[in-house]
């Protein structure tokens, strides 16, 4: 009835990005306060139900007191919320969403989402992305990469499997070919809609090596559930090695296919 790998976890999954601890801290503060408010309310609620239950000889009181005092909880909550916004909300939001690390010192990746896969486009060792054109999109060239562009030569395109180095921010510039998707890695505590006709950014700096799951968080059709991938966080050495092997592999297939492939793409 319950498969052995199904569980009853509570709480947050493992944090694996540089800003995840900030967000988790905020999440915990909010929940502690929420539970606190709920318990205080709840205790008072139950006290009232018991103390003021209808019984013989007990009548309701007509005159109210404390109408002004009832504004105290409203005021406290407002003050608490404003403090949260000013002290944490705006700064954390600014650091995660409104600013990106300098691209020159980061690992840059383009993500091109489609129903129902994540195309991951790396600039390769030269750090330059080849040109993309919607007219070049074909079964073998899912992102429409223009192979005649010199910058494309060492570009790597993978599907659903993303490799990133540890200790360096990764900046994703994302767009979608068809409908809206949403790039989401729960361990990084960040997600971003991927919108057709629009470029959106998401950056993260992984703090742990390992495999983390990418999911699509915005309903995108039949295969929405299966639109998953993995982020492999590698040590810088492993990452370089991986990149080299990918480039070599691409060069190998290109020379094997000869000059036919580019012209095929043109048609």
């Amino acid at each position: 009835m319950i498969k052995e790998d199904w569980g009853f976890q509570t709480g947050l999954p493992e944090a694996a990005s540089s800003y995840a601890p900030n967000i988790d801290w905020l999440m915990n503060v909010l929940h502690v306060v929420m539970i606190g408010i709920f318990v205080v309310w709840g205790v008072y609620f139950i006290y009232c139900l018991v103390a003021y239950r209808a019984r013989d000889g007990h009548t309701g009181t007509y005159h109210q007191t404390g109408e002004k005092a009832s504004f105290i909880p409203d005021g406290l909550i407002l003050a608490f919320e404003m403090w949260l916004i000013l002290a944490f909300g705006i700064p954390i939001w600014a650091s995660v969403k409104q600013s990106t690390p300098p691209p020159s010192e980061s690992n840059n990746i383009h993500v091109i989402a489609q129903q129902f896969a994540w195309n991951i486009h790396y600039p390769g060792p030269d750090g330059k992305f080849g040109r993309r054109d919607v007219k070049l999109v074909s079964a073998s060239n899912s992102i429409g990469l223009d192979e005649s562009d010199p910058a494309s030569k060492d570009d790597i395109v993978t599907i659903n499997q993303m490799s990133v180095p540890l200790g360096k921010p990764t900046i994703l510039q994302m767009t979608s070919k068809d409908v809206i998707h949403d790039f989401w890695v729960s361990n990084f505590r960040n997600k971003q809609d991927v919108v057709p006709g629009l470029n959106t950014n998401l950056w993260f700096e992984p703090t742990k090596t390992g495999k983390f799951e990418i999911a699509c968080a915005q309903l995108c059709g039949l295969g929405h559930t299966q639109m998953v991938g993995n982020v492999f966080v590698k040590t810088p050495e492993e990452f370089d090695e991986w990149q080299k092997s990918q480039v070599a592999e691409k060069a190998g297939t290109a020379s094997a296919a000869g000059a036919v492939a580019p012209s095929e793409n043109r048609s």
């Binding site: 790998d5 199904w6 409203d74 919320e81 705006i90 969403k97």
Partner: protein, 592 residues
């Protein structure tokens, strides 16, 4: 456009109809229309509930186990598999069917279930009575809004017969997914335009009735909280719904007329470029949609708050705490609800600096909500609380809405929303507001006003069984959603186990299914009670709860035209336990 044609049948002058059709079917009497809405919206709630049961069943066991043997299916599974044929495989849903149920569950519950129940059914029945009016301002318009609503509902359901079935882009129908979706989505757009028209007709009627048809002495400051809630709700519907109507119209044109309001340049569809000029913006839909849909949340909530206020005042036998604070907060909620919509869109690709603005407005709107809740809670203090069934539901509303409201905090707060957005945490949050919150209040309202509607009380024992079998399982369904969402399980997944990061919280889904089954069983006593009490319930007089507001000053059920003599109001709505008065309640219309 039809409003002005009906000025003449306002108020008085139309005699009681005699034929069956005129009296019970095409009736212009607000009470009959209210009951028509009541029954229809309960039917839609049942349909939405059934879809929820199917989805919970799917989510508990999303895919066949390794040792699955089609020959040895359980009775439940084989029955479901038989009923839904090729939409399922051995009773395991195909993803498109799951998406269809998801979209329809949301659409039905919100637009055809809870809003018509809270606003149209109880509003129609109770509001004119509470302000001492003989009927609505535009009775024929009132009848029309019911029939338009019914047509809209039928059109919406008929999308099942479209190729590929129901609409499947979620109740939010985000473009461009909804533009490239199968034909069911076109039906959705058309049905929405019809339903919105019905809502607009209704809200015009409610506003004019409330402002114009109050009995002598019924000043704005003496109106019951429920009337205030309905008034604010009507204004929200009036101003927010046309914007969605505009949005739905544009979506419809994108689908059928080749326009590209929501279609960007060079959008692909499968392996080809989508045949449209392009240049539109998908995020535009989200703005138009949420501009409605956030006020809509308060449309779901405000009538419930009003109901809870009525029931609590009556059953604590004391005046409501902070009447003016409650009313003021409701008005403030109404105003603020128009400036918070983009908190649904922090991650949509909208300019990120806008988020700070909407975080601030969102957290500000929590303050009047807290104020209402605080006042209702403090209303218990000093009371002599009677624990009858309506009161139980009204009391349950307080902590349940509390959870719903509190869990809104980390969602409205952009940095934590980064993690929680689009997860089950969101689902848990708004279901706490709508199900054990609003819907519980509406259940309470059914028990509370049933004697007025049918002249008999519902059975208390069955009512209490219904109460416990509703509120407890609801918590076992919705609380685990918060755990799942916190862990990062996304909403709208036909099979969450296909994503390995969801497995550690998948176990909760099995518990939720069992809770849902208990919830289903718990509704049987309610249905039985509802029909049984029509003939066998304890006979209720004019005022079975010893309440003060005007609806209890006319016979149960009220005759055509409601009041035997036009009532005159002498005092505020909640004069309970007034020192020196002969009874512990002092009706609004009782002469001093």
């Amino acid at each position: 456009m039809d409003t002005h044609g009906h000025g003449h049948d306002a108020g008085h002058g139309h005699g009681e109809p005699t034929s069956f059709w005129r009296k019970y079917v095409f009736s212009v009497d607000h009470k009959v229309i209210g009951i028509q809405y009541l029954i229809t919206s309960f039917l839609f709630l049942l349909v939405g509930f059934g879809m929820m049961m199917l989805m919970r069943y799917q989510l508990a066991w999303p895919s066949p186990p390794d040792d699955f043997d089609p020959e040895k299916m359980s009775l439940v599974r084989s029955t479901i598999a038989k009923i839904f044929g090729d939409k399922m495989e051995y009773g395991f849903m195909r993803p498109d069917f799951y998406n269809q149920l998801g979209a329809m569950h949301g659409t039905i519950m919100i637009f055809l279930g809870v809003v018509p129940l809270g606003v149209a059914a109880f509003g129609n029945y109770v509001l004119p009575l509470q302000i001492g009016a003989p009927d609505m301002a535009f009775p024929r318009l009132n009848m029309m809004s019911y029939w338009v609503y019914l047509v809209g509902g039928i059109v919406m359901m008929s999308s099942y017969f479209a190729p590929d079935g129901f609409p499947q882009s979620g109740w939010t129908s985000y473009a461009p997914l909804s533009i490239v979706a199968p034909p069911g989505q076109t039906v959705w757009c058309i049905a929405m335009v019809i339903i919105i028209t019905s809502s607009l007709l209704g809200s015009i009627n409610f506003i004019v009735t409330t402002l114009n048809m109050r009995a002598k002495g019924m000043t704005l400051g003496r109106m019951p909280v429920f009337v205030w809630a309905q008034l604010v709700t009507a204004v929200l519907l009036l101003l927010a719904f046309p914007v969605l109507e505009a949005g739905a119209l544009l979506q419809l044109l994108d689908r059928v007329a080749g326009t590209s309001f929501y279609i960007p340049k060079d959008m692909m569809y499968g392996s080809t470029v989508f045949p449209a000029a392009g240049g539109g913006n998908p995020i535009l839909w989200q703005h138009l949609f949420w501009f409605l849909a956030h006020p809509e949340v308060y449309v779901l909530l405000l009538p419930a708050m009003g109901i809870v206020a009525e029931i609590i005042a009556t059953n604590t036998r004391k005046p409501l705490f902070g009447y003016r604070e409650i009313v003021g907060s409701m008005v403030l909620i109404g105003i603020l609800s128009f400036v918070v919509w983009a908190h649904h869109m922090f991650l949509s690709g909208m300019r990120t600096s806008l988020a700070n603005l909407f975080v601030t407005t969102t957290l500000t709107i929590s303050v009047p909500s807290v104020a209402v809740l605080t006042c209702l809670l403090l209303s218990l203090r000093g009371g002599a609380i009677r624990f009858n069934t309506p009161m139980l539901f009204a009391l349950a509303f307080l902590p349940m809405f509390g959870i719903g409201g509190l869990t809104g905090l980390p969602l409205g707060f952009a940095p934590t929303d980064l993690h929680l957005h689009d997860t089950y945490y969101v689902i848990g949050h708004f279901h706490y507001v709508v199900a054990p919150g609003s819907l519980a209040a509406l259940m309470g309202a059914t028990y509370y006003w049933y004697p007025k509607m049918f002249g008999r009380k519902m059975n208390e024992t069955l009512g209490k069984i219904h109460f416990w079998m509703t509120i407890v399982p609801m918590n076992f369904i919705f609380f685990p959603m918060l755990f799942q969402g916190m862990w990062g399980m996304d909403r709208r997944l036909a099979d969450p186990t296909l994503q390995w990061h969801n497995l550690p919280v998948q176990g909760w889904s099995v518990i939720m299914l069992f809770a849902a089954c208990v919830l289903l069983l718990g509704q049987i006593p309610f249905l039985w009670n509802f029909f049984w009490s029509l003939r066998h319930g304890e006979i209720a007089g004019e005022n079975p709860w010893n309440a003060t507001t005007l609806e209890w000053a006319c016979p149960s059920p009220p005759p055509h035209g409601n009041f035997v003599t036009p009532p005159e109001v002498h005092r505020g709505p909640y004069e309970y336990s007034v020192p020196g008065h002969k009874t512990d309640y002092w009706p609004q219309d009782e002469a001093a």
